[in-house]
Symmetry: C3
Subunit: 364 residues, 3 copies
């Protein structure tokens, strides 16, 4: 390490600072606790593509998160569980951050990568159909991670694909592995949300953004509904008049969770337990300034133990002066994403048998 850093909370004094010396919520083992990981549930992912949050139920999300916690807290990687497997990272919409997260996950498990880092500027962009590109993927890898600017890209590439696809964001569609990383972070912060919680322990969830048109927000909201037993209320802060759209509104209504829509975060911030942000000003390749109704900083009236999520990169909607406080769950969220992706690769490629038996609390 270049230097040791000891972040200390500046806005809150907790009995026990939950952050480790790297400023992260460190304790994946707390999430795992004495549970075993149910292999039969994880094996539902074998050979499957991961396209939408709708493929998941709560128990599958939990087993994936527990498996990720295990991968984060033990040295399982050294058993080379992805040995001999090739992952294709196909980014037709460039995203260095997401691509590196996936590639790092694979390489640490000794898998290999062939990479299309910038699909829009390379040969495949010249008029070739996505279904032909899907057929190409069959020949060159064992699983594809794809990001694309178009929502329908996933359906198109799947029409000829015979290997599993992990959707890393399709237009205004979904971003399911991000939602898993989001909830992995939340469950580290409050492991009791795994099961039944008392009325007092239920959380008020704030979402800054437009679930109806932003894929990460959409996927996060859908996954949150799987944990509705632990949620007291969902507040959506958006400048759009109808931030949900018909389908999500029905889903939310049917869930029985109380929800509230506003265009000013200050109206609800002091009651929120979890605040999910996004670079909501970031539209395609341009972005613009947000006014204070959508920004968070150290002077925001946050509850002492509220936490903030953000699927980085951020612009100025989230002030760096929050980084060194215990409100910062977003760094934990980014770090954990690597292990969520590892859990998915091992499951989809059915490489459980490669893991060191003695360290793994698997049950069937």
């Amino acid at each position: 390490m270049v230097k040791e850093k000891f972040h200390t909370s500046k806005t809150t004094v907790l009995d026990e600072n939950p952050l480790n010396s790297d400023g992260l919520y460190p304790d994946p083992e707390k999430l795992l606790s004495k549970d075993t990981i149910n292999l039969n549930i994880l094996k539902r992912l074998v050979g499957q593509s991961v396209i939408s949050v709708d493929q998941f139920d709560k128990e599958l999300v939990l087993e994936v998160c527990k498996f990720a916690a295990l991968l984060e807290s033990t040295e399982i990687a050294s058993s080379h569980p992805l040995d001999g497997k090739i992952v294709i990272t196909a980014f037709f919409e460039a995203s260095t951050r997401t691509r590196l997260s996936f590639e790092s996950a694979v390489l640490r498990l000794d898998g290999k990568i062939v990479s299309i880092a910038n699909g829009n500027s390379t040969g495949v962009a010249k008029g070739e159909s996505l279904s032909d590109i899907g057929e190409m993927f069959n020949a060159y890898g064992d699983v594809v991670v794809m990001r694309h600017t178009e929502t329908e890209s996933v359906d198109e590439v799947m029409s000829n694909l015979r290997i599993p696809l992990i959707n890393a964001g399709n237009g205004s569609g979904e971003h399911p592995t991000q939602a898993l990383a989001d909830w992995f972070a939340i469950l580290k912060w409050k492991p009791q949300l795994k099961g039944e919680v008392t009325k007092e322990a239920k959380i008020h969830l704030g979402i800054l953004g437009t679930p109806g048109s932003m894929r990460a927000v959409n996927s996060f909201l859908r996954m949150s509904l799987l944990f509705r037993q632990g949620i007291r209320k969902i507040s959506i802060v958006s400048e759009m008049a109808d931030p949900l759209g018909e389908e999500l509104e029905e889903l939310l209504s049917a869930s029985g969770v109380e929800y509230f829509i506003t265009n000013d975060i200050n109206e609800v911030v002091s009651d929120l337990d979890v605040i999910y942000m996004n670079s909501i000003a970031f539209l395609g390749d341009s972005y613009r300034s947000l006014d204070s109704r959508f920004k968070l900083h150290k002077d925001s009236k946050l509850k002492d133990d509220a936490v903030v999520l953000h699927p980085l990169a951020r612009l100025d909607e989230l002030d760096p002066n929050l980084d060194t406080t215990t409100h910062n769950l977003y760094f934990t969220q980014a770090h954990g994403a690597v292990f969520i992706r590892q859990a998915l690769f091992i499951s989809v490629l059915n490489r459980f048998a490669k893991l060191p038996k003695e360290h793994i609390p698997f049950s069937e």
Copy 2:
């Protein structure tokens, strides 16, 4: 697998469907049959660059194809034959498809890759000479795979190169590994073309494109002449008045193979056994529509057992409605290219000794 797919031929009913469940001509072992692979012939490639089809004779093409068939049908890759070797993939003309084919080939054999995915937009483009780039390659890898927009690029980079180069397409020059992949597919389809064939079994070969100015077509035609004993006639379909140019015309005349030039595929299609297509409308960075004289689709008057080759990507010259018919040899061709490239790397780098002895029918 995401889903099982059982392609059934829609236009032909064969006694025995030659396609496997992936829609590919699957049986590389038939090509290998009970032959041994002559190691002395393969070893002619040790330390050599692969620049042009003219370096090959028929027996070398056959041993490379038989070796590729072996690699495709056995688990030889797990012996890590390229362990410790670095392949530089230098694409000064971007081609995601070709680059991924080479990289996948190397990684499955446990070789390593340093990649110039888009040479035109990076540092090397800023006025540096190709001979200096060749000297750079000496320091950073064990073999170079290069694609370049300029025909003379290969000579220039070779002037300082002391490691082998595999030519992955140089301007309007050659694309020899594509021609090997093309003939690998043809030999899987009709293994008897390896040796003497009866007059009735000889094939009529149709080539859509301009051999004189398109590298893949050029290399394919040159390699086809090595198999002239199995070829009854070659028909070239091109909109150009002189699609061959002087050198190829002499070569073709000297070969003794009957040939015919037309500008309408419909004139010959019903007699063709093998149809070699290309994105002939694709010129540099622009492309334009082709009229029906150069297109193939399910209603084309194909012979029942005719096969179509295409070194993808395709535009609309080749209708996807042919994909699920037994005419589709182009997917087999694309899949096989990976193993052709593996055979070349193992040969050029002389890694035969790394292969598991017991499984390899090598003779010397």
Copy 3:
């Protein structure tokens, strides 16, 4: 090998041609001679970032160069000393040559790479702060190699970085690994510069370029001052009136080394022992012709045993007709850079224990 090449000096006849059959100064063992490598000195690099030449003293430079010589002359790489480690190569200013040198170094030691080959055109460029990018690097790798157009980029990314960073060039700042490669080549050429030298053996060092504003020249000059006991005189050839700037001028004055500034190489060339060149006409993305006052070629009045360094790529300031003479130390310099970088990675990541004990002349 494609072909054997035997370069023979055209301008000088030495008793013993120091170049090997590849045209390189080949003998890293001469540099190492019977010395042991002092592990305690190398271990000063463990966990450290490598930002500036100012972090080095002469004894550390020497141990790094001796370690690089050992790596160049033995088969240590096969012990996989970087197994399980991920290096992030983050090039926010594209440089294929430098990126490949680092990546090749890592891969030959069995480390893994995640690569941002062209940072300016990818997601991270869209308004994200470098300190956030630093936090991202923490999650995805064990060490970062960064090149950036801005001098202050290193400080910014370091503000959140908890893993070591290797500075591969920051704006007009520094390029310390290049300076190590430069001196590695000089020490191969004249190993006695390691220690005390007689007055007659001291060298006259010529630098073409502007140390005050060109990072590689700046770093080279700073490192040269560590070897001032072997330097008789430093001549700086630059078209700028004040090529040094205040800080370097003070440093140079304080060193006690005689120095001389001119704008015409022909004024000093016949007395120079080492000539350090650079593409001085290359400014940002544009370049322009240099007149003869800044060019070297075979008819330049070089001393018989003078050597030329150049941290390629070159334009026309350095004529290729010098390549096949013994003046050419620049190819040796480029090849050696790979081993310098390997020595740094093994040291920074503290992987000495992975090296095969029996072959390593380490002392503590």
